[in-house]
Amino acid sequence: MPENWITSIGLDIGTSTTKFIASQLLISESGNGFSLPSCQIVDRRVTYSSPIYTTPLINDYKIDMDKITCILEREYGNSQIRMENVKAGAIIITGEAAQKENAQSIIHYLADRAGDFVVATAGADLEGILAGKGSGALRRSTQVEGIIANIDIGGGTANVALFQNGRAIQTITFNVGGRLIRLTENGKIVYISDAIQLWLKKNDFYLELGDTLTFPQVQEICNKMSDSMFSFLSGCPQYSAELLLLDSQPTEIFPIDEVIISGGIGQMMRNGPPATIRNVTKYGDIGPQLAHSLNESIHAYSFIFTQAQETTKATVIGAGMQNTEVSGATIYVNEALLPIKNIPICTIPVVEKNHQWEPESFQIRLGDLLEQAGKIYHAKENEPPIALALSNIPNCTYQILQELSASILEQFRNNFPSSHCLVILCDSDIAKALGQAIARRCHGTLDILCIDQIDFTYGDYIDLGLPVAGESISISVKTLAF
């Protein structure tokens, strides 16, 4: 069977640390000669892993872009890979770093210096999912019954991703991290993140810059923080836990059976408890105590606590190794148009739950969706304004195929009259048939790209890469784009 390796990189810029990895992905055509061809990533190997850098900052809020660029260049050198050979990968700005004023410009700046096929992204949802892939939580969910929560805790945020049967089913982000409060070695407060001010006050911690915290006070704050988060995850929030949630978050969560903790704090949980304020402040923050509090408090809840395969590097490994997927092997694309980046995904179920195929209903729902999308997204010339993602596709007969393609073409033309490129994603194996059917109807007036076997449940944007084997192309689904 033909097989080929592609090079992928990951760069994770967190609130406190920055890491880089290089990896190799083995793509293999696995068709057996009697069925339709299929193609998948069959092996992912880390080939290089950088030391852990302290994220360079100019001040409390601003990341030092020049120094980050130096790190990237140095690590490209150390890993002995050439930028032009990098065919996949991701740069991800995580935790508090993502909220800092210049996250967007950094990502833009770095994307140009990392390689053409490297995705630049930020955002807690994707970060949580990538960390769960890197830590082994996703794989664990394929091996055991129930819901596995991966909690990736670093300096600024705790990104929780819930996995079941090998799929991410929910993400939640807390402002819980080691560097939200920074202390001198004697316990004097030099920084308090705005994100936790309300929660602190609500729990009767009145902290001011310059105050000195005693060891028991730090313990109390960290214990409350741990209990807030775990109680929220167990479904019975205490200590105003909702004030620790980032932005708008789900108020109801799935029942969690097992917890894996990754990230820098996850790593510290393997150390012994701090005994003095000096032990606590060894990194100038509350991290070691937070790790110990989590260790203590998790036993009060009914979750099974499982060790992570990777802790500190979970996110960067997830970014470097797991961000890229390959599409189905029977698809409809015009290679000349690839790659296309940052296409917003608009999802529509082809049939609604407990319903049959109803062409009129689909036509109306699609019209509404595209009308809304048309108000938000305006494509540049020759670029697709959106990727129309079809979920819940029924057993597709020739008749359904014809009605579906007619509806899509009509509604797309109505709502994006000046657009020349239509991108469709399907969750089941019908992309080539659908692409051909629409192309046949539009008589060459539109460029059609129709791709299948993609999990687009957790994504807002998609990048379509180049063909990697047979007809399959590399793709990455992400949550934020710049």
Partner: protein, 233 residues
């Protein structure tokens, strides 16, 4: 093993797993189900493709030398050849030297044709059209075997051939279709020159996607002027 895991396993396969037993025998309902599936497999071998379906797609019928289903089963060689009058009928009705010749045959499963032809055939025609490939005169072969395409190839001399034929039924699925494809099949063509997409039915290889891909494969055969193991996909 707990119940949820067993149910998940049962859901992942149509095979008869976790059916339970009473003493040393299966439960009555499972035993009846097995009898039903076996009967369906027998029926599909002995069944006939309806005239209505063949008319819908303007397919005339030609018989091989099989004579009866019993002989068809014991003498596969008879399903590969045609009597002189059948050959004359093919020559009389069909366009000669088409780019693509499509033939449909019941083979070992008439239900494979009944269940899948309405989706596969029109999608296949659309797919070929999208590659600007023209087709000859399609027809239906009753009692055909895969290599009947060699004799038809000799008669009509098409560039490429697609035979949609019913597969040997199993106890899980009795209406599975195969598409055999070949570049310039003639008498004496080696099996290694044929290509196949098998297991085509709603719960197997998606019929419309399989048909859409046949167009791509035929396009590649004509481009590379070969098929089978020497075709670069």
């Amino acid at each position: 093993m707990n119940k949820d895991s067993l149910l998940a396993l049962k859901k992942s396969t149509p095979a008869r797993i976790g059916v339970g037993r009473t003493g040393t025998r299966p439960l009555t309902k499972d035993f009846l189900l097995l009898r039903i599936d076996h009967a369906a497999a027998v029926d599909t071998v002995y069944g006939e493709v309806s005239a209505k379906l063949l008319d819908q797609f303007n397919l005339f019928t030609v018989d091989t030398c099989f004579e009866t289903k019993e002989r068809y089963l014991t003498r596969p060689d008879l399903g590969r050849i045609f009597a002189e009058d059948a050959q004359a009928l093919i020559l009389e009705k069909c366009v000669k030297r088409p780019v693509v010749q499509i033939v449909i045959s019941d083979g070992l499963s008439s239900n494979a044709i009944e269940e899948n032809l309405r989706d596969v055939y029109p999608t296949l025609l659309d797919s070929l059209e999208s590659y600007n490939l023209t087709t000859g005169t399609p027809f239906f072969v009753r009692g055909g075997r895969v290599a009947c395409m060699d004799v038809i190839g000799e008669l009509l001399e098409p560039e490429a051939f697609i035979l949609l034929i019913g597969e040997r039924p199993g106890l899980v699925c009795a209406h599975s279709l195969s598409a055999y494809m070949c570049y310039r099949p003639r008498v004496g063509t080696k099996e290694s020159d044929r290509m196949v997409i098998s297991n085509i039915h709603q719960r197997g290889t998606t019929p419309i996607e399989a048909a859409a891909h046949m167009g791509t494969m035929i396009h590649k055969m004509l481009e590379q002027k070969t098929s089978g193991v020497s075709l670069v996909i």
